[in-house]
Protein backbone atom coordinates (compact mmCIF):
# COMPACT_ATOMS: atom_id res chain seq x y z
CA UNK A 1 0.00 0.00 0.00
CA UNK A 2 1.45 3.38 -0.96
CA UNK A 3 0.72 6.73 0.77
CA UNK A 4 -1.17 4.89 3.46
CA UNK A 5 -3.79 6.84 5.42
CA UNK A 6 -3.59 9.80 3.08
CA UNK A 7 -6.14 10.83 0.47
CA UNK A 8 -3.84 9.42 -2.21
CA UNK A 9 -3.71 5.95 -0.63
CA UNK A 10 -3.21 3.33 -3.30
CA UNK A 11 -3.68 -0.37 -2.88
CA UNK A 12 -0.83 -1.62 -5.05
CA UNK A 13 -1.86 -5.20 -4.39
CA UNK A 14 -5.38 -6.00 -3.38
CA UNK A 15 -6.27 -9.54 -2.41
CA UNK A 16 -3.86 -11.25 -4.78
CA UNK A 17 -3.97 -14.99 -4.06
CA UNK A 18 -1.42 -16.73 -6.19
CA UNK A 19 0.26 -20.11 -6.05
CA UNK A 20 3.06 -20.79 -8.51
CA UNK A 21 3.67 -24.47 -9.24
CA UNK A 22 7.23 -25.74 -9.22
CA UNK A 23 8.82 -25.88 -12.66
CA UNK A 24 6.29 -23.63 -14.37
CA UNK A 25 6.74 -20.37 -16.25
CA UNK A 26 4.19 -17.78 -15.19
CA UNK A 27 3.94 -14.46 -16.98
CA UNK A 28 2.29 -11.40 -15.47
CA UNK A 29 0.95 -8.76 -17.83
CA UNK A 30 -1.20 -5.78 -17.05
CA UNK A 31 -1.94 -2.13 -17.54
CA UNK A 32 0.45 0.54 -16.22
CA UNK A 33 0.24 0.78 -12.47
CA UNK A 34 -1.66 -2.47 -12.22
CA UNK A 35 0.62 -3.83 -9.51
CA UNK A 36 2.73 -6.22 -11.59
CA UNK A 37 6.06 -4.94 -10.32
CA UNK A 38 4.68 -4.53 -6.80
CA UNK A 39 3.78 -8.22 -6.88
CA UNK A 40 7.36 -9.13 -7.76
CA UNK A 41 8.79 -6.73 -5.16
CA UNK A 42 6.48 -8.14 -2.50
CA UNK A 43 7.73 -11.65 -3.26
CA UNK A 44 11.38 -10.53 -3.33
CA UNK A 45 11.02 -8.64 -0.06
CA UNK A 46 11.88 -5.15 -1.30
CA UNK A 47 8.29 -4.04 -0.72
CA UNK A 48 6.79 -4.41 2.74
CA UNK A 49 3.27 -5.79 3.02
CA UNK A 50 0.51 -4.26 5.11
CA UNK A 51 -1.28 -7.58 5.17
CA UNK A 52 -1.06 -11.08 3.76
CA UNK A 53 1.68 -13.69 3.65
CA UNK A 54 4.37 -14.88 1.29
CA UNK A 55 5.49 -18.51 1.16
CA UNK A 56 8.55 -19.87 -0.58
CA UNK A 57 9.35 -23.58 -0.72
CA UNK A 58 6.69 -24.05 1.93
CA UNK A 59 8.43 -21.59 4.33
CA UNK A 60 6.62 -18.52 5.52
CA UNK A 61 9.08 -15.83 4.36
CA UNK A 62 6.80 -12.85 5.06
CA UNK A 63 9.19 -11.50 7.70
CA UNK A 64 12.44 -12.48 5.97
CA UNK A 65 14.66 -9.63 4.79
CA UNK A 66 15.31 -9.14 1.10
CA UNK A 67 18.84 -10.49 1.38
CA UNK A 68 17.69 -13.58 3.27
CA UNK A 69 15.09 -14.39 0.62
CA UNK A 70 17.78 -13.86 -2.01
CA UNK A 71 19.43 -17.07 -0.82
CA UNK A 72 16.55 -18.93 -2.45
CA UNK A 73 15.22 -16.63 -5.12
CA UNK A 74 16.98 -14.56 -7.72
CA UNK A 75 15.99 -11.56 -9.78
CA UNK A 76 16.74 -9.78 -13.00
CA UNK A 77 15.73 -6.13 -12.89
CA UNK A 78 14.38 -3.88 -15.60
CA UNK A 79 17.39 -1.58 -15.36
CA UNK A 80 20.56 -3.44 -16.41
CA UNK A 81 22.57 -1.24 -14.01
CA UNK A 82 20.64 -2.50 -10.99
CA UNK A 83 21.65 -6.13 -11.15
CA UNK A 84 25.41 -5.69 -11.41
CA UNK A 85 28.05 -3.82 -9.39
CA UNK A 86 29.52 -1.51 -12.04
CA UNK A 87 32.93 -0.89 -10.45
CA UNK A 88 33.60 -4.58 -9.99
CA UNK A 89 34.90 -6.74 -12.81
CA UNK A 90 32.77 -9.19 -14.78
CA UNK A 91 34.44 -12.09 -12.99
CA UNK A 92 33.96 -10.55 -9.54
CA UNK A 93 30.26 -9.98 -10.19
CA UNK A 94 29.81 -13.58 -11.25
CA UNK A 95 31.74 -14.97 -8.29
CA UNK A 96 29.56 -12.94 -5.93
CA UNK A 97 26.47 -14.43 -7.55
CA UNK A 98 28.05 -17.87 -7.36
CA UNK A 99 28.31 -17.41 -3.61
CA UNK A 100 24.61 -16.73 -3.21
CA UNK A 101 23.32 -18.74 -0.29
CA UNK A 102 26.73 -19.71 1.04
CA UNK A 103 28.96 -18.13 3.70
CA UNK A 104 31.48 -15.52 2.53
CA UNK A 105 34.85 -15.99 4.15
CA UNK A 106 38.48 -15.15 3.60
CA UNK A 107 39.02 -17.36 0.59
CA UNK A 108 40.45 -15.61 -2.45
CA UNK A 109 37.47 -14.59 -4.57
CA UNK A 110 39.18 -15.28 -7.88
CA UNK A 111 41.36 -18.32 -7.49
CA UNK A 112 42.43 -20.21 -10.59
CA UNK A 113 39.68 -22.80 -10.32
CA UNK A 114 36.87 -20.28 -9.87
CA UNK A 115 38.26 -18.23 -12.73
CA UNK A 116 38.15 -21.20 -15.07
CA UNK A 117 34.65 -22.00 -13.94
CA UNK A 118 33.42 -18.45 -14.48
CA UNK A 119 35.10 -18.31 -17.87
CA UNK A 120 33.29 -21.47 -19.00
CA UNK A 121 29.93 -20.15 -17.89
CA UNK A 122 30.45 -16.82 -19.64
CA UNK A 123 31.64 -18.56 -22.81
CA UNK A 124 28.38 -20.51 -22.90
CA UNK A 125 26.50 -17.22 -23.38
CA UNK A 126 28.16 -16.93 -26.78
CA UNK A 127 28.72 -13.19 -26.50
CA UNK A 128 32.51 -13.24 -26.55
CA UNK A 129 32.64 -11.83 -23.02
CA UNK A 130 34.94 -14.59 -21.76
CA UNK A 131 37.90 -12.45 -22.87
CA UNK A 132 36.72 -9.45 -20.87
CA UNK A 133 36.47 -11.06 -17.44
CA UNK A 134 38.63 -8.39 -15.81
CA UNK A 135 36.80 -5.46 -17.38
CA UNK A 136 34.71 -3.42 -14.94
CA UNK A 137 31.20 -4.58 -15.74
CA UNK A 138 30.06 -0.94 -15.93
CA UNK A 139 31.91 -0.59 -19.23
CA UNK A 140 29.71 -3.18 -20.96
CA UNK A 141 26.51 -2.41 -22.87
CA UNK A 142 23.07 -2.74 -21.32
CA UNK A 143 22.38 -5.91 -23.27
CA UNK A 144 25.66 -7.52 -22.21
CA UNK A 145 25.07 -6.57 -18.60
CA UNK A 146 21.56 -7.96 -18.69
CA UNK A 147 22.79 -11.24 -20.19
CA UNK A 148 25.34 -11.47 -17.37
CA UNK A 149 22.72 -10.59 -14.75
CA UNK A 150 20.61 -13.43 -16.08
CA UNK A 151 23.58 -15.76 -15.79
CA UNK A 152 24.19 -14.49 -12.24
CA UNK A 153 20.56 -15.18 -11.37
CA UNK A 154 20.67 -18.74 -12.63
CA UNK A 155 24.21 -20.05 -11.93
CA UNK A 156 23.12 -21.09 -8.44
CA UNK A 157 19.75 -22.71 -9.02
CA UNK A 158 17.06 -20.54 -7.41
CA UNK A 159 13.77 -21.91 -6.10
CA UNK A 160 12.14 -19.04 -7.93
CA UNK A 161 13.43 -16.78 -10.70
CA UNK A 162 11.87 -13.31 -10.85
CA UNK A 163 12.15 -11.40 -14.11
CA UNK A 164 10.98 -7.79 -13.83
CA UNK A 165 10.47 -6.48 -17.40
CA UNK A 166 14.06 -7.49 -17.89
CA UNK A 167 14.15 -6.69 -21.60
CA UNK A 168 12.20 -3.42 -21.48
CA UNK A 169 15.29 -1.20 -21.43
CA UNK A 170 17.11 -3.02 -24.23
CA UNK A 171 17.27 -2.47 -27.98
CA UNK A 172 15.28 -5.03 -30.01
CA UNK A 173 18.32 -7.15 -30.95
CA UNK A 174 19.60 -7.34 -27.38
CA UNK A 175 16.10 -7.98 -26.08
CA UNK A 176 15.71 -10.93 -28.43
CA UNK A 177 19.10 -12.27 -27.37
CA UNK A 178 18.27 -11.98 -23.66
CA UNK A 179 14.93 -13.71 -24.23
CA UNK A 180 16.72 -16.56 -25.99
CA UNK A 181 19.17 -16.87 -23.11
CA UNK A 182 16.26 -16.77 -20.67
CA UNK A 183 14.55 -19.64 -22.42
CA UNK A 184 17.75 -21.68 -22.46
CA UNK A 185 18.54 -21.05 -18.79
CA UNK A 186 15.00 -21.83 -17.65
CA UNK A 187 14.91 -25.03 -19.69
CA UNK A 188 18.36 -26.18 -18.53
CA UNK A 189 17.61 -25.70 -14.85
CA UNK A 190 13.88 -26.58 -15.07
CA UNK A 191 13.44 -23.30 -13.19
CA UNK A 192 10.27 -21.98 -11.63
CA UNK A 193 9.86 -18.55 -13.17
CA UNK A 194 7.68 -15.53 -12.63
CA UNK A 195 8.10 -12.87 -15.31
CA UNK A 196 6.56 -9.43 -15.62
CA UNK A 197 6.43 -8.02 -19.13
CA UNK A 198 4.69 -5.49 -21.32
CA UNK A 199 5.30 -7.61 -24.38
CA UNK A 200 2.26 -9.75 -25.12
CA UNK A 201 4.32 -11.57 -27.73
CA UNK A 202 6.82 -12.66 -25.06
CA UNK A 203 3.96 -13.62 -22.79
CA UNK A 204 2.38 -16.10 -25.17
CA UNK A 205 5.76 -17.37 -26.42
CA UNK A 206 7.25 -18.10 -22.99
CA UNK A 207 4.44 -18.59 -20.50
CA UNK A 208 2.74 -21.78 -19.38
CA UNK A 209 0.33 -19.55 -17.55
CA UNK A 210 -0.56 -15.90 -18.00
CA UNK A 211 -1.93 -13.60 -15.33
CA UNK A 212 -3.57 -10.33 -16.32
CA UNK A 213 -3.46 -7.71 -13.58
CA UNK A 214 -5.49 -4.56 -13.26
CA UNK A 215 -5.69 -2.13 -10.35
CA UNK A 216 -3.88 -4.41 -7.94
CA UNK A 217 -5.94 -7.50 -8.72
CA UNK A 218 -5.46 -10.55 -10.89
CA UNK A 219 -8.41 -10.19 -13.25
CA UNK A 220 -7.59 -13.10 -15.59
CA UNK A 221 -5.69 -16.28 -14.83
CA UNK A 222 -5.05 -18.15 -18.06
CA UNK A 223 -3.53 -21.60 -17.59
CA UNK A 224 -2.46 -24.02 -20.28
CA UNK A 225 -1.37 -21.25 -22.62
CA UNK A 226 0.11 -23.64 -25.17
CA UNK A 227 -2.73 -26.13 -25.29
CA UNK A 228 -5.26 -23.35 -25.69
CA UNK A 229 -3.13 -21.77 -28.39
CA UNK A 230 -3.56 -18.36 -26.89
CA UNK A 231 -2.32 -15.59 -29.18
CA UNK A 232 -1.14 -12.05 -28.79
CA UNK A 233 -4.44 -10.97 -30.36
CA UNK A 234 -6.47 -12.75 -27.68
CA UNK A 235 -4.56 -10.92 -24.97
CA UNK A 236 -4.95 -7.61 -26.73
CA UNK A 237 -8.68 -8.14 -26.76
CA UNK A 238 -8.67 -8.72 -23.01
CA UNK A 239 -6.78 -5.47 -22.54
CA UNK A 240 -9.21 -3.57 -24.71
CA UNK A 241 -12.08 -4.88 -22.66
CA UNK A 242 -10.34 -3.75 -19.45
CA UNK A 243 -9.87 -0.30 -20.89
CA UNK A 244 -13.54 -0.15 -21.91
CA UNK A 245 -14.57 -1.18 -18.42
CA UNK A 246 -12.45 1.64 -17.03
CA UNK A 247 -13.99 4.17 -19.34
CA UNK A 248 -17.43 2.86 -18.50
CA UNK A 249 -16.64 3.38 -14.83
CA UNK A 250 -15.77 7.03 -15.31
CA UNK A 251 -18.62 7.57 -17.78
CA UNK A 252 -21.10 6.06 -15.34
CA UNK A 253 -19.75 8.16 -12.49
CA UNK A 254 -20.11 11.27 -14.61
CA UNK A 255 -23.69 10.35 -15.48
CA UNK A 256 -24.59 9.77 -11.84
CA UNK A 257 -22.96 13.05 -10.86
CA UNK A 258 -24.99 14.97 -13.44
CA UNK A 259 -28.21 13.26 -12.49
CA UNK A 260 -27.99 13.59 -8.71
CA UNK A 261 -25.60 16.38 -7.70
Amino acid sequence: MFHRDTPSEVRALDGVDLAVERGTFTVVVGTNGSGKSSLLNAIAGSLGLTGGRVFLDGNDVTHWSEQRRARRLSRVFQNPFTGTASDLSVAENLVLAGGRGGPRGLRRALGRERRRDVREQVARLGLGLEDRLDTPIGLLSGGQRQALTLLMATMVKPSLLLLDEHTAALDPRSAEQVIRLTQAAVARGALTTLMVTHSLGQAVALGDRILVMHRGRVVHDLGDVRRRRLTEGDLLQLFDRLRWADRLDTAAAEMLRRAYI
Partner: protein
Protein backbone atom coordinates in the same frame (compact mmCIF):
# COMPACT_ATOMS: atom_id res chain seq x y z
CA UNK B 1 68.07 14.85 6.51
CA UNK B 2 66.70 14.28 10.00
CA UNK B 3 63.76 16.46 9.09
CA UNK B 4 63.07 14.29 6.06
CA UNK B 5 63.29 11.08 8.07
CA UNK B 6 60.96 12.46 10.71
CA UNK B 7 58.45 13.63 8.13
CA UNK B 8 58.56 10.30 6.30
CA UNK B 9 58.02 8.40 9.56
CA UNK B 10 54.97 10.49 10.44
CA UNK B 11 53.76 10.08 6.85
CA UNK B 12 54.01 6.31 7.14
CA UNK B 13 52.10 6.38 10.42
CA UNK B 14 49.40 8.57 8.91
CA UNK B 15 49.19 6.30 5.88
CA UNK B 16 47.24 3.90 8.10
CA UNK B 17 44.77 6.74 8.62
CA UNK B 18 44.68 7.06 4.82
CA UNK B 19 43.91 3.33 4.47
CA UNK B 20 40.98 3.67 6.87
CA UNK B 21 39.62 6.67 5.01
CA UNK B 22 40.07 4.80 1.73
CA UNK B 23 37.83 2.04 3.04
CA UNK B 24 35.00 4.31 4.21
CA UNK B 25 35.26 7.00 1.53
CA UNK B 26 36.16 5.03 -1.57
CA UNK B 27 34.70 1.60 -0.87
CA UNK B 28 31.50 2.72 0.88
CA UNK B 29 31.25 6.28 -0.46
CA UNK B 30 30.72 7.51 3.09
CA UNK B 31 32.46 10.51 4.64
CA UNK B 32 32.94 8.88 8.01
CA UNK B 33 33.52 11.59 10.61
CA UNK B 34 34.13 8.90 13.24
CA UNK B 35 37.74 9.22 12.05
CA UNK B 36 38.47 12.21 14.32
CA UNK B 37 37.13 10.35 17.32
CA UNK B 38 38.69 7.00 16.55
CA UNK B 39 42.10 8.55 15.94
CA UNK B 40 41.73 10.29 19.31
CA UNK B 41 40.61 7.15 21.11
CA UNK B 42 43.57 5.31 19.57
CA UNK B 43 45.89 7.93 21.04
CA UNK B 44 44.10 7.90 24.40
CA UNK B 45 43.84 4.15 24.93
CA UNK B 46 47.42 3.45 23.87
CA UNK B 47 48.84 6.28 26.01
CA UNK B 48 46.76 5.48 29.10
CA UNK B 49 47.71 1.80 29.00
CA UNK B 50 51.39 2.49 28.29
CA UNK B 51 51.83 4.81 31.27
CA UNK B 52 50.30 2.05 33.41
CA UNK B 53 53.02 -0.31 32.19
CA UNK B 54 50.95 -2.45 29.80
CA UNK B 55 53.19 -4.04 27.13
CA UNK B 56 53.23 -1.85 23.97
CA UNK B 57 51.85 -4.53 21.67
CA UNK B 58 48.86 -5.18 23.96
CA UNK B 59 48.25 -1.45 24.43
CA UNK B 60 48.30 -0.94 20.66
CA UNK B 61 45.94 -3.86 20.09
CA UNK B 62 43.52 -2.46 22.67
CA UNK B 63 43.60 0.90 20.89
CA UNK B 64 42.74 -0.80 17.59
CA UNK B 65 39.82 -2.63 19.18
CA UNK B 66 38.50 0.60 20.68
CA UNK B 67 38.59 2.26 17.25
CA UNK B 68 36.94 -0.72 15.57
CA UNK B 69 34.18 -0.66 18.16
CA UNK B 70 33.64 3.06 17.52
CA UNK B 71 33.38 2.46 13.78
CA UNK B 72 30.99 -0.41 14.35
CA UNK B 73 28.77 1.86 16.45
CA UNK B 74 28.67 4.47 13.69
CA UNK B 75 27.85 1.77 11.15
CA UNK B 76 25.13 0.41 13.39
CA UNK B 77 23.57 3.86 13.92
CA UNK B 78 23.65 4.44 10.18
CA UNK B 79 22.24 1.10 9.02
CA UNK B 80 19.97 0.04 11.85
CA UNK B 81 18.42 3.41 12.71
CA UNK B 82 18.93 5.10 9.33
CA UNK B 83 20.81 7.98 10.96
CA UNK B 84 22.51 10.03 8.24
CA UNK B 85 26.10 8.80 7.93
CA UNK B 86 27.63 12.23 8.57
CA UNK B 87 25.51 12.70 11.67
CA UNK B 88 26.21 9.19 12.95
CA UNK B 89 29.94 9.88 12.62
CA UNK B 90 29.70 13.23 14.37
CA UNK B 91 27.69 11.71 17.21
CA UNK B 92 30.16 8.90 17.76
CA UNK B 93 33.17 11.11 17.51
CA UNK B 94 31.74 13.75 19.85
CA UNK B 95 30.96 11.07 22.41
CA UNK B 96 34.46 9.66 21.95
CA UNK B 97 35.99 13.00 22.92
CA UNK B 98 34.60 12.57 26.44
CA UNK B 99 35.51 8.90 26.49
CA UNK B 100 39.08 9.77 25.51
CA UNK B 101 39.28 12.32 28.32
CA UNK B 102 38.06 9.73 30.84
CA UNK B 103 40.54 7.18 29.54
CA UNK B 104 43.49 9.57 29.70
CA UNK B 105 42.39 11.13 32.98
CA UNK B 106 43.60 14.52 31.75
CA UNK B 107 44.04 16.46 28.53
CA UNK B 108 47.58 15.26 27.96
CA UNK B 109 49.98 12.53 29.01
CA UNK B 110 53.72 12.12 28.67
CA UNK B 111 55.11 8.74 27.61
CA UNK B 112 58.71 9.77 28.25
CA UNK B 113 59.38 7.02 30.76
CA UNK B 114 57.15 4.29 29.30
CA UNK B 115 58.42 1.63 26.89
CA UNK B 116 56.65 1.87 23.51
CA UNK B 117 56.78 0.01 20.20
CA UNK B 118 59.18 2.72 19.05
CA UNK B 119 61.58 2.37 21.99
CA UNK B 120 61.41 -1.42 21.58
CA UNK B 121 62.37 -1.11 17.91
CA UNK B 122 65.23 1.21 18.87
CA UNK B 123 66.46 -1.22 21.50
CA UNK B 124 66.33 -4.02 18.95
CA UNK B 125 68.40 -1.91 16.55
CA UNK B 126 70.93 -1.34 19.32
CA UNK B 127 71.12 -5.06 20.05
CA UNK B 128 71.78 -5.74 16.37
CA UNK B 129 74.97 -3.79 16.89
CA UNK B 130 74.19 -0.81 14.68
CA UNK B 131 76.24 2.29 15.41
CA UNK B 132 74.38 4.98 17.28
CA UNK B 133 74.82 7.52 14.55
CA UNK B 134 75.88 7.26 10.96
CA UNK B 135 76.21 9.50 7.97
CA UNK B 136 73.59 9.53 5.28
CA UNK B 137 73.84 11.86 2.26
CA UNK B 138 76.40 13.88 4.12
CA UNK B 139 74.42 14.43 7.33
CA UNK B 140 74.64 12.64 10.62
CA UNK B 141 71.50 10.68 11.50
CA UNK B 142 70.47 8.85 14.65
CA UNK B 143 70.08 5.09 14.42
CA UNK B 144 67.04 5.46 16.65
CA UNK B 145 65.21 7.56 14.08
CA UNK B 146 66.09 5.06 11.35
CA UNK B 147 64.71 2.27 13.57
CA UNK B 148 61.43 4.15 13.97
CA UNK B 149 61.28 4.75 10.22
CA UNK B 150 61.84 1.08 9.43
CA UNK B 151 59.26 -0.04 12.00
CA UNK B 152 56.60 2.24 10.55
CA UNK B 153 57.51 1.31 6.97
CA UNK B 154 57.05 -2.36 7.82
CA UNK B 155 53.73 -1.70 9.54
CA UNK B 156 52.39 0.51 6.74
CA UNK B 157 53.45 -1.92 4.02
CA UNK B 158 52.11 -4.88 5.97
CA UNK B 159 48.69 -3.38 6.54
CA UNK B 160 48.46 -2.03 3.00
CA UNK B 161 49.21 -5.48 1.64
CA UNK B 162 46.80 -7.14 4.06
CA UNK B 163 44.02 -4.73 3.11
CA UNK B 164 44.65 -5.33 -0.60
CA UNK B 165 44.52 -9.07 -0.07
CA UNK B 166 41.44 -8.80 2.11
CA UNK B 167 39.50 -6.82 -0.49
CA UNK B 168 40.16 -9.62 -2.96
CA UNK B 169 38.63 -12.32 -0.75
CA UNK B 170 35.00 -13.44 -0.88
CA UNK B 171 34.20 -11.26 2.11
CA UNK B 172 36.15 -8.26 0.80
CA UNK B 173 34.53 -8.53 -2.63
CA UNK B 174 31.12 -8.67 -0.96
CA UNK B 175 32.04 -5.52 0.96
CA UNK B 176 32.99 -3.73 -2.24
CA UNK B 177 29.74 -4.80 -3.89
CA UNK B 178 27.75 -3.57 -0.88
CA UNK B 179 29.42 -0.18 -1.23
CA UNK B 180 29.14 -0.03 -5.00
CA UNK B 181 25.56 -1.21 -5.53
CA UNK B 182 23.57 -2.15 -2.41
CA UNK B 183 20.61 -3.31 -4.46
CA UNK B 184 22.72 -5.75 -6.43
CA UNK B 185 24.40 -6.88 -3.23
CA UNK B 186 21.05 -7.67 -1.60
CA UNK B 187 19.96 -9.54 -4.71
CA UNK B 188 22.92 -11.91 -4.36
CA UNK B 189 22.15 -12.38 -0.65
CA UNK B 190 24.88 -10.13 0.75
CA UNK B 191 24.06 -8.69 4.18
CA UNK B 192 24.60 -5.04 3.20
CA UNK B 193 24.02 -3.63 6.69
CA UNK B 194 26.44 -6.12 8.21
CA UNK B 195 29.03 -5.23 5.57
CA UNK B 196 28.79 -1.51 6.42
CA UNK B 197 29.19 -2.19 10.15
CA UNK B 198 32.15 -4.49 9.51
CA UNK B 199 33.73 -2.12 6.98
CA UNK B 200 33.52 0.93 9.22
CA UNK B 201 34.84 -1.21 12.08
CA UNK B 202 37.92 -2.22 10.10
CA UNK B 203 38.39 1.34 8.79
CA UNK B 204 38.30 2.89 12.25
CA UNK B 205 40.48 0.13 13.68
CA UNK B 206 43.15 1.20 11.18
CA UNK B 207 42.62 4.86 12.05
CA UNK B 208 42.95 4.12 15.78
CA UNK B 209 46.16 2.19 15.04
CA UNK B 210 47.46 5.29 13.32
CA UNK B 211 46.65 7.31 16.46
CA UNK B 212 48.23 4.72 18.75
CA UNK B 213 51.45 4.79 16.72
CA UNK B 214 51.70 8.56 16.49
CA UNK B 215 51.46 8.93 20.25
CA UNK B 216 54.19 6.31 20.72
CA UNK B 217 56.41 7.96 18.14
CA UNK B 218 56.02 11.45 19.56
CA UNK B 219 56.21 10.30 23.18
CA UNK B 220 53.17 12.23 24.33
CA UNK B 221 49.39 12.18 24.00
CA UNK B 222 47.07 15.13 23.66
CA UNK B 223 43.30 15.12 23.55
CA UNK B 224 43.27 17.33 20.44
CA UNK B 225 45.42 15.02 18.31
CA UNK B 226 42.40 13.55 16.55
CA UNK B 227 40.99 16.88 15.40
CA UNK B 228 40.84 17.02 11.62
CA UNK B 229 41.93 13.40 11.14
CA UNK B 230 39.33 12.85 8.42
CA UNK B 231 40.64 15.79 6.41
CA UNK B 232 44.24 14.62 6.77
CA UNK B 233 43.16 11.16 5.66
CA UNK B 234 41.38 12.58 2.62
CA UNK B 235 44.41 14.68 1.74
CA UNK B 236 46.67 11.60 1.92
CA UNK B 237 44.28 9.66 -0.26
CA UNK B 238 43.98 12.40 -2.84
CA UNK B 239 47.71 12.90 -3.20
CA UNK B 240 47.99 9.14 -3.70
CA UNK B 241 45.25 9.09 -6.31
CA UNK B 242 46.93 11.89 -8.19
CA UNK B 243 50.30 10.12 -8.13
CA UNK B 244 49.35 6.49 -8.73
CA UNK B 245 45.77 6.65 -10.06
CA UNK B 246 42.90 4.31 -9.36
CA UNK B 247 43.42 1.65 -11.95
CA UNK B 248 43.46 -1.25 -9.52
CA UNK B 249 42.73 -1.70 -5.84
CA UNK B 250 46.37 -2.55 -5.14
CA UNK B 251 47.62 0.59 -6.86
CA UNK B 252 44.98 2.69 -5.17
CA UNK B 253 45.98 1.40 -1.73
CA UNK B 254 49.69 1.79 -2.46
CA UNK B 255 48.81 5.33 -3.49
CA UNK B 256 47.25 6.01 -0.10
CA UNK B 257 50.57 5.07 1.56
CA UNK B 258 52.78 6.95 -0.89
CA UNK B 259 50.39 9.91 -0.81
CA UNK B 260 50.61 10.14 2.98
CA UNK B 261 54.41 10.22 2.90
CA UNK B 262 54.58 12.72 0.06
CA UNK B 263 52.02 14.95 1.72
CA UNK B 264 54.02 14.92 4.98
CA UNK B 265 57.21 15.77 3.12
CA UNK B 266 55.44 18.67 1.44
CA UNK B 267 54.18 19.85 4.82
CA UNK B 268 57.69 19.62 6.30
CA UNK B 269 59.07 21.59 3.37
CA UNK B 270 56.38 24.24 3.78
CA UNK B 271 57.10 24.59 7.49
CA UNK B 272 60.82 24.76 6.77
CA UNK B 273 60.08 27.50 4.26
CA UNK B 274 58.36 29.52 6.94
CA UNK B 275 54.76 28.28 7.10
CA UNK B 276 53.36 28.74 10.60
CA UNK B 277 52.67 25.24 12.00
CA UNK B 278 49.43 26.54 13.46
CA UNK B 279 48.16 27.08 9.92
CA UNK B 280 48.64 23.41 9.07
CA UNK B 281 45.00 22.33 9.37
CA UNK B 282 43.84 25.36 7.42
CA UNK B 283 46.25 24.54 4.63
CA UNK B 284 45.25 20.85 4.66
CA UNK B 285 41.56 21.72 4.42
CA UNK B 286 42.20 24.17 1.57
CA UNK B 287 44.23 21.52 -0.20
CA UNK B 288 41.39 18.96 -0.04
CA UNK B 289 38.92 21.60 -1.19
CA UNK B 290 41.16 22.47 -4.11
CA UNK B 291 41.47 18.82 -5.18
CA UNK B 292 37.67 18.53 -5.08
CA UNK B 293 36.85 21.62 -7.10
CA UNK B 294 39.75 22.16 -9.50
CA UNK B 295 38.67 19.28 -11.82
CA UNK B 296 35.27 20.99 -12.12
CA UNK B 297 36.86 24.24 -13.26
CA UNK B 298 38.91 22.29 -15.75
CA UNK B 299 35.80 20.60 -17.10
CA UNK B 300 33.97 23.91 -17.36
CA UNK B 301 36.77 25.36 -19.42
CA UNK B 302 36.67 22.36 -21.72
CA UNK B 303 32.93 22.39 -22.24
CA UNK B 304 29.57 21.52 -20.67
CA UNK B 305 29.54 18.87 -17.99
CA UNK B 306 28.20 15.46 -19.03
CA UNK B 307 25.11 14.29 -17.17
CA UNK B 308 25.84 12.24 -14.08
CA UNK B 309 29.39 13.48 -13.66
CA UNK B 310 30.39 14.03 -10.07
CA UNK B 311 33.48 15.39 -8.41
CA UNK B 312 36.06 13.30 -6.61
Amino acid sequence: MNLVIGAATIGLILSLLGLGVFLSYRVYHLVDLTADGSFGIGVAVAAALLVRGVPPLAATAAAVLAGALAGGITGFLHTRFQVNALLAGVLTSTALYSVSLFVMGSGSLSLASAPTLVTQAQRLAGRLGLPETFTLFGTEVQASSIAALVLMALLAAGFALALTRFLATDLGTAMRAAGNNPQMARAVAIDVEGMVVLGLGVANGLIALSGALITQYQGFANITMGVGAIVTGLANLMVGETLLGRRSIGRWIAGAVVGAVVFRLLVAAAIRAGLNADALKLVTALFVLAVLIVPQWGARLRGPRPAGAHPG
